[in-house]
Symmetry: C2
Subunit: 154 residues, 2 copies
């Protein structure tokens, strides 16, 4: 199966988060191909200068190219349905293609969230988008482990 | 102020988590001294061999030495009150000493949780104890930033 994680992030390697991100991609490889898509462009910079509404709109535009017409699209938003690790396993189970979208500093636009198949939340705490990406990748691996009877989740 | 984070963990440096842990300790330093206490001993190993009840009891014994008689003690448990970052800020506000306890693979013993001033949860997802430690440290820094009007949380 193919999983994409699309985020509003400048990307590039850094000493703090890249080793962990690469670790979870590597240990997930027996079960799924995971691609991390970091997007940051001039429209997002302009949005951040202009305000919340413009920012959210620039994220939707950036994500539009990565929206999967045939696959499952999942938004991550603090206002989404609070899920546990087994719920994420159910989301991934028997799917060919799943794309997760993590919003930028201002979250996601309501109209974008509505286009997604599901909007999920990991809880009420605010995480930096970089740490949210790490937590999502750990949860994806945990979910793959559950679906493949791998002992990690026990 | 002084903050302690006590966990059931073998400790030692690793390439994946240590850089992030040290990063959050460093950026928190203007606001608080944070000490991470990783505990793993023979009683915990024996507990893990024997079962859930024995494991949880071994965590309580290990944590007893670090329970603060004069400070605030906070248990982290999936069954706790789901908090957001502002709730954590309130927990830390104007305190001299706060200790957080993250349980081991089997969580925390009910009698230990009851001795704490509060039992909090970050949501329903299961995180590895190492990632839970990183998320807690990020939340502590975020809470300190809120209480000190530092722009990180915005």
């Amino acid at each position: 199966m193919k999983i994409k994680v699309a985020t509003i992030d400048k990307g590039g390697k850094d000493k703090l988060y890249t080793p962990l991100i690469e670790h979870f991609l590597k240990i997930s490889r027996p079960f799924a191909t995971i691609e991390v898509i970091d997007i940051f462009n001039k429209s997002i910079i302009r949005g951040h200068e202009e305000g919340v509404i413009q920012s959210k709109h620039s994220y939707s535009e950036a994500f539009a190219n990565h929206f999967s017409a045939n696959g499952v699209n999942i938004a991550l938003d603090p206002n989404g349905i609070v899920v546990d690790s087994f719920d994420i396993a159910k989301i991934l189970k028997d799917k060919n293609s799943v794309t997760f979208f993590i919003g930028g500093a201002y979250g996601l636009e309501e109209s974008f969230v509505q286009q997604c198949n599901k909007c999920i939340s990991f809880g009420k705490i605010t995480l930096s988008h970089k740490l949210a990406k790490v937590v999502l990748l750990e949860q994806i691996f945990r979910a793959l482990a559950i679906n493949n009877n791998h002992p990690y989740h026990k």
